[in-house]
């Protein structure tokens, strides 16, 4: 009996110790876990504020940082820069106000960036700011649009002549098709109509690339035994001085008396606008559009037959080249003056394949 009592007493004391230790452990664990959690939470906040620190700072200045084309160029440049611990900034997107390319250049120069990638043009003002930047010790490469009269290090663009040849090839296909149709339909050669080709060129630029494309088109058609009477190439200047004028200028073409058979668009925006106008004026099939760039909207338009063909520029490659040019300059001091990005043609024959490849990427 006595023993039993003692045993139960000891049991109780053991239980009590256990409880005490458990509570203490619980408290300690909670406190330690709480402290750790808190520390992690704090360091999370701090790391949010710190993240990666880069060695160099390049800026990319374009006229429209929102477009798909420039976004993919930027993406390529950014990825490339990251490899060498360089941050490439798409300048302008952080401002609440809309700045022109030249103004952005001024700001970049004042900000003493380590390199500028700019979508340039042949204006005097542009060459002036480029020279100013170079004077301030900032290397400048021009991207897609060149400014040949400036001290820019290098130009990264597409082979405008080969683009012109591609367009020319497509136009010959269109002409041949028309000829076949007319042979069946009309009796005499006189009744054959002339095929009107309109190239939409930016009005404000003395862009050499544009001119090269146009001459490329003409040369290609000429080489292919097509007589002058069969086609007519006209250049329509599209007013791109403000944001909405492009669309208006294109509508103007359709509202005119002579509606062209083939419209060659030399940038993404005009392609989209033209396609929309063709749909709106119910002229799908009558007007063949040769587009520019491979944005989703354009590719799906090719699938539906609204756009005859488009040029796919490897935008990411262009971005990569621009960063490579700048880094090479920093590393070696001199670089090649031209970098050309790959260009491919997309029409209904290879659009499926292209889409598949895009999907894979």
């Amino acid at each position: 009996m006595k023993n039993q009592n003692e045993v139960s007493y000891e049991k109780k004391i053991v239980r009590q110790y256990l409880l005490l230790v458990l509570t203490l452990i619980f408290m300690l664990v909670t406190l330690v876990a709480g402290t750790l959690f808190f520390k992690f939470y704090r360091s999370d906040l701090v790391s949010q504020a710190e993240s990666n620190v880069y060695d160099k700072y390049f800026v990319m200045i374009t006229d429209n940082y929102k477009s798909d084309f420039w976004q993919s160029v930027y993406k390529g440049a950014f990825e490339k820069g990251k490899e060498s611990n360089i941050y490439v900034d798409l300048f302008g997107e952080q401002f609440s106000k809309d700045y022109s390319v030249e103004e952005l250049m001024e700001i970049a120069i004042a900000s003493k960036v380590d390199g500028i990638i700019v979508y340039a043009n042949e204006t005097l003002e542009m060459s002036h700011v480029i020279n100013k930047a170079v004077d301030a010790g900032i290397p400048v490469v021009t991207l897609y649009g060149d400014c040949t009269r400036s001290d820019r290090l290098s130009f990264i663009g597409v082979g405008s002549y080969s683009i012109g040849k591609m367009y020319g090839g497509q136009i010959i296909d269109i002409i041949k098709e028309k000829r076949r149709e007319e042979l069946i339909e009309s009796e005499t050669i006189e009744e054959r109509s002339q095929i009107k080709i309109t190239v939409l060129a930016n009005a404000d630029t003395k862009d050499t690339g544009q001119n090269i494309i146009i001459s490329g088109i003409q040369e290609t058609i000429n080489q292919d035994n097509v007589t002058d009477s069969e086609y007519l190439v006209s250049i329509v200047a599209v007013d791109n001085t403000n944001s909405f004028s492009v669309e208006e200028s294109i509508r103007d073409i359709f509202l005119g008396e002579e509606i062209p058979d083939v419209i060659v668009c030399l940038n993404e925006l005009s392609t989209v606008c033209t396609y929309q106008a063709v749909v709106d004026f119910n002229m799908v099939g009558e007007v063949s559009i040769l587009g520019y760039y491979d944005s989703e909207a354009i590719v799906s338009a090719i699938e539906r037959g609204g756009v005859y063909a488009t040029i796919s520029i490897d935008a990411a490659q262009m971005g990569e080249y621009s960063v490579t040019a700048l880094t090479d300059y920093h590393d070696f001091g001199n670089i090649s003056e031209y970098y050309l990005a790959d260009v491919t043609l997309i029409n209904q024959d290879n659009v499926e394949q292209f889409k598949k490849e895009e999907g894979d990427d």
């Binding site: 109780k12 509570t23 909670t30 906040l45 880069y54 941050y87 952080q94 609440s96 106000k97 700001i107």
Partner: protein, 495 residues
């Protein structure tokens, strides 16, 4: 731990409470620290915006003072410009110049460099103005103004960007704060439950020996001294009480044992004494019986009486007859109770014998209510009293001594009074006699061996109350009266 458990009860209870409180206090401190640091974070959230506003103000001041100097060229404005430029430069230097993934950090960097550029331009403008180079300072002014606008725009953009980021941070902080609150309350609750459990268990363990003690005490109070005594595990107050209790129980047991033993001893002794007394009495009786055969004495005395009658000596005959009667009564009176009549007759006989012995010296008077004579009373009472009166009261008075015997009724009692006119007894002696402390001298060969104390005690036992016998004496030579008061109603007991 054992050391702790051996401490006093008060210390233990206080330390358990203090311990529990300490835990809660610790948890609280942690919570407060957490809340404090979080609220500090919250305060700092919009700090960047504030400093940017200051930067913007300083920038405007530089521009304004420069414009003022250009337009008025006062030394105050120049001074103002230097001050403003210094404070703006300080603020701009404080900006971070690292390039990171974060937009606002890159913007900060750009603002910093642009500010440096701007300050240089402004300094050149001021310099040109001092040198009165109108053409130059115009150009510088324009370019610096353009820069000023750009910077201002940049700062505004950065402000917006930062505000967005900070708002996000603020929301995250707020969320974390709420979560922290919930976690804190949960932890507090759990710790409190733990504390309650600890205190409960501690108090239970401390009280448990007391409970055991209470059970044992209950059992002991129920008379079971062999109850299972709890063991004192720790030497706190409870342990001391338990030990004391155990000792007490053991010593009570011992004491009871001893008491039992001594009582048994005493009883044994008493028994022995009684037996011895009885044996003594028996021996005495046997001795007496052996000394005189009363029948032989009576027969002898009767023979003497007959002889006296035959010889015609009537007085001798009567005397011998009286003596014989007297002795026969003495022998007969082995039985306890007799009638008053018997007793009175005995007194008559006794006086008659004495008168023969002392040739009629004693005067004897009798006032007896005959109706009361058949009542019962103890034997051998009146004769010893009369003998006392004769021996101590009137012996030396020669013919003048007188004994008066009265039997009368008073209320519901029978009174038997024996009075004399002798020496009397002092009050002191009376008291001694009545209380039984009188030491009588056993020298009297001339009595029949029965002392006053024996008489008094027997009368009292028979009557059942203490004042059944009273001795009255009014002083020296004024005589003495012994009054025996017996209850009526002993009639049926007549033999």
């Amino acid at each position: 731990m054992t050391k702790f458990l051996n401490r006093p009860l008060q210390f233990k209870i206080i330390s358990v409470c203090v311990f529990a409180n300490l835990i809660i206090f610790l948890v609280n401190i942690f919570l407060i620290l957490g809340i404090n640091s979080m609220s500090q974070d919250m305060e700092m959230v919009y700090q960047d915006n504030l400093s940017l506003n200051r930067l913007s103000q300083a920038l405007t001041k530089v521009q304004d003072s420069m414009t003022e100097y250009l337009s008025s060229k006062t030394s105050e404005s120049l001074e103002e410009y230097y001050r403003a430029a210094q404070s703006f430069s300080d603020l701009a230097q404080a900006l971070d110049d690292t390039v990171t993934d974060l937009t606002f950090s890159r913007m900060e960097r750009n603002i910093r460099y642009m500010s440096q550029n701007y300050l240089e331009e402004v300094a050149q403008t001021i310099e040109a103005k001092r040198g009165r180079n109108v053409e130059k300072y115009r150009t510088y002014y324009e370019s610096s103004t353009r820069l000023y606008e750009d910077i201002d725009e940049y700062i505004t953009s950065l402000n917006i960007e930062l505000f967005a980021v900070n708002s996000g941070n603020y929301l995250a902080l707020l969320k974390a704060f709420r979560r922290f609150e919930i976690v804190g309350v949960t932890v507090m609750t759990l710790v409190m439950i733990g504390n309650v459990l600890i205190i409960t268990s501690f108090v239970k363990t401390m009280i448990m020996p007391l409970k055991n003690l209470a059970d044992s005490a209950d059992e002991v109070s129920g008379g079971n001294f062999d109850a299972n005594l709890p063991q004192a595990v720790y030497h706190d107050e409870v342990g001391i009480v338990i030990n004391a209790f155990s000792k007490m129980v053991v010593s009570i047991k011992d004491y009871i044992e001893k008491l039992k033993e001594s009582m048994a001893n005493e009883r044994y002794m008493q028994e022995k004494e009684l037996i011895m007394e009885a044996n003594l009495k028996d021996a005495q009786l046997k001795y007496l019986q052996a000394q005189i055969n009363p029948h032989f004495l009576f027969n002898t005395l009767n023979a003497g009486a007959q002889l006296a009658m035959m010889e015609g000596a009537d007085r001798t005959y009567e005397y011998v007859q009286t003596v014989a009667d007297f002795f026969r009564y003495n022998v007969q009176s082995q039985k306890r109770d007799v009638t008053i009549r018997d007793e009175v007759t005995l007194v008559d006989n006794y006086i008659q014998i004495l008168n023969v012995r002392f040739s009629g010296d004693i005067g004897y008077e009798k006032q007896v209510d005959e109706r009361l004579l058949d009542l019962v009373m103890p034997s051998m009472i009146l004769q010893p009293i009369v003998e006392n009166a004769v021996n101590h009261g009137i012996r030396e008075m020669a013919g003048a001594g007188r004994i008066t015997l009265k039997v009368y009724r008073r209320d519901d009692s029978v009174c038997i009074s024996i009075s004399d006119n002798g020496k009397g007894i002092s009050q002191e002696t009376i008291n001694q006699l009545l209380t039984g402390s009188f030491s009588h001298i056993e020298d009297s060969y001339d009595n029949n061996g029965i002392g006053m104390d024996n008489v008094i005690s027997r009368v009292r036992i028979f009557a059942g109350y203490d004042d059944a016998i009273d001795i009255i004496s009014h002083g020296e030579n004024k005589g003495c009266e012994v009054v025996i008061t017996l209850p009526m109603g002993g009639e049926e007991c007549i033999e």
